[in-house]
Amino acid sequence: MKMYLRLVSALIQGVEPSDKEKKRNRIFYIVMACIAGFGIMLPMTFFVGVIIYSMTGTLSQFGTVENGVEIFLHLIAAFSFIFGLNVMFSVFYFSGDIENLLPLPLRPYQIIASKFTAALMSESVMECLVILAAMVGYILGGNMPLYSWLIAVIGTFTMPVLPLIYCGIISMTVMYFTRFIKNKDAVNKIVGIFTFAVIFGIVMLISKSGFNSDKLVEALSKPDNSVLAVMNVIFPTVPFLVKSMGTGTLLDLLIYLGINVIAVTVFMLIAQVLYFPSVVGIGQGASHSKKTLTEVIEKMKLRPVTVTYLKKEFRLLFRTPAYFTNCVMINFMCPVFVYLAYVVHQQTNFMESFIYGIHSGNEETVLEFVLGISAVSVLVTAVNCIASSGLTREGKHFSFIKYIPVPYITQLNVKALVSIVISSSGMLLCVIAACIWLHTGIKFTLFCCLLCLLSITFATYFGLYMDSVNPKLIWDDELNALRGNYNIFFNMAVAIVTEAIICAGAYLLFRFTDVGALMIIIIVFVLLMVLNAVSYLLCRYKATKNIEHI
């Protein structure tokens, strides 16, 4: 136990910023944490709580009070499973600390248990908050007794365990049976593509089933819900947790805890058998070129430094599995999620009135559409974190940026260009598809594309500046550069809050003044141009100074 706790503590310290880093930017961290806390985490948890609260209230009339929170918790578990798969593969097999842990006299289950705990703690902070919010909404909406609060607290910290155990078991099984594949990059990329395929498959299934948001409430009001029945088999802890909160039956709580204990035990047993044979001897990914040196250098020619630097950035993003999955592929998931949003709302009153609004040139709907494009563009750029990890990704060889004879601003501009190109590839596809589908006309489509690019450029330069304040340069593996990186999270928070202020301001201006939608759109456009100039100047003068002092 002592060994386990020491290992967990050591592994957590590898993910968290060092005390020195924390001290250096204490004020910066406090301000950013406040923005992230009050601007994102609090509103989001409040939003989740309110939804579950009202859903529980509505469903209590049909006698299916627990269905709302149950399906929500299943959804959270499913998300945790999908996004945890890549994390578990990386943590168990591809992290830099494995080479240091394997020679130590540790048993496989000790390594796995400590790595699993460290990953669970760093991955589940936001998830725990959302689960807690859902449970609070359920307890208040269903007028649950006092002991429900205690069970909610237990559930908050234990709910994320089972989905991640599934990911851990799958990762060990896959790696055990594919021991012959020594190319770790290939396996890592396949897992990323598999995750993407699963999400795409689910969206397609929903699309084909004719499912929409109106049907969801209808389905949840029925006691014999088939979707819930299937989900209860996949994540058997959820129904027992919800039941124990509602009825206060100790047996349900014990069954809930018992399932978790059994899952952990099975997981440890599997780790004891499969981990060492699958991890020992895992090789670095490297394909050998068949071309000779003479053939390759014959094609070499002197190019402008920006071109060659750009190529280097693209190559590293596409060839590094962690970056490929988290920074590149995520952009192509954006159209999938937009399609999902459309599918869920299709043939509902909301979607019909929206389409009618665009076709008839309704000012409010057009404004909503334009603001939506800007908001999603900023969000996508912040989420893919290409810009906000631009300097962090350099890691231990950050000094390369400083000793080559290329001005810092040139290097930052190239990094910005990479972010703009990759972020806009998925977003422009979405915007153009939406405009064609809504028959908005060429001029409006071009305007929307321009607005999308402006929003992305603003978020990009701002992200680069944020990363320059305190880049996380010490990490074991590339996933670690992105995971638990406060810069990325804070940048996301600031970008979202800024965009939310713009959108809310524009909308309120439209609702409560006589200013027309066209004028407001022009104001938003000009505001985005000003923000672009400000964020570029921040990079040019502040970020370059920050780099000098790193």
């Binding site: 040196l293 070499m300 280097k312 590293l316 060889h397 000094s399 004879p405």
Partner: protein, 239 residues
């Protein structure tokens, strides 16, 4: 070619890594930089290459002041960092192309140098593969090739021999000698006293951010008769 004058560097306002350090490296000289771990060698290297800035003092490389002309200074330098694990997902040739473009090496010269240096260091077969597949020594070799690609007048090498096999270490030493014969300067840090003894025209010994000795090894041995270089070094640095 290198003027390092009255340079002081403090980390986090508490740790004084260099305290009023001064030394010069002239053209045609190979100067070894010796000192125990944590004595300030890497800090000096980083200051010379513009990776970090001094608190006070003056650094001039190839006639350019690093504060006023940082880009000119960087163009004049060929630098080998202490860790060769850089851009491992690039192929060797892709990395060298990047370096050639950064330092604006003409196409023909670039091709010729890559072929020549790759053959010298036994990397001809490996250069077309990703650097991830290289051993530590091979990675160090490609860093050496990259640093020499643009034929810079000043070489600043941080522990360049680490990881090199005997043949490659020999080749690098030869290249250093040839380079200084053309009037250029080499400044390199090392822990291996034999290397310093056989290669250097002069050595600078540093401890706790202070220069203990700056001169030729012959003079140092004359001052401490009947003592091996190893003993002299230990006596100097353990005082």
């Amino acid at each position: 070619m290198i003027k390092f004058e009255n340079v002081t560097k403090t980390y986090n306002r508490t740790v004084r890594a260099l305290d009023d350090v001064s030394f010069h490296v002239k053209g045609g000289e190979i100067v070894g930089f010796i000192g125990p771990n944590g004595s300030g060698k890497t800090t000096t290297m980083k200051l010379l290459t513009g990776i970090i800035r001094p608190d006070s003092g003056k650094i001039v490389v190839n006639g350019f002041n690093i504060r006023e002309d940082p880009i000119k200074v960087k163009e004049s330098i060929g630098y080998i960092a202490d860790s060769p694990d850089m851009f491992l997902r690039l192929k060797g040739t892709e990395f060298l192309q990047l370096i050639a473009d950064i330092y604006k090496v003409p196409t023909e010269v670039c091709r010729e140098r890559i072929e020549k240096l790759a053959e010298k260091f036994g990397l001809t077969q490996a250069l077309t593969s990703p650097m991830m597949s290289y051993s530590h020594g091979m990675r160090q070799k490609i860093m050496v090739i990259a640093a020499l690609m643009h034929k810079p007048p000043v070489w600043i090498l941080d522990e360049p021999m680490i990881g090199l096999d005997p043949k490659s270490a020999f080749e690098l030493k030869q290249l250093m000698r040839e380079h200084t014969k053309e009037g250029n300067a080499v400044f390199f840090s090392t822990h291996v006293l034999e290397v310093a003894e056989k290669l250097c025209d002069r050595v600078v010994i540093i401890k706790n951010g202070h220069i203990l000795y700056d001169g030729t090894l012959d003079d140092l041995e004359k001052q401490n008769k009947n003592e091996s270089l190893e003993n002299i070094f230990l006596e100097l640095t353990e005082k």
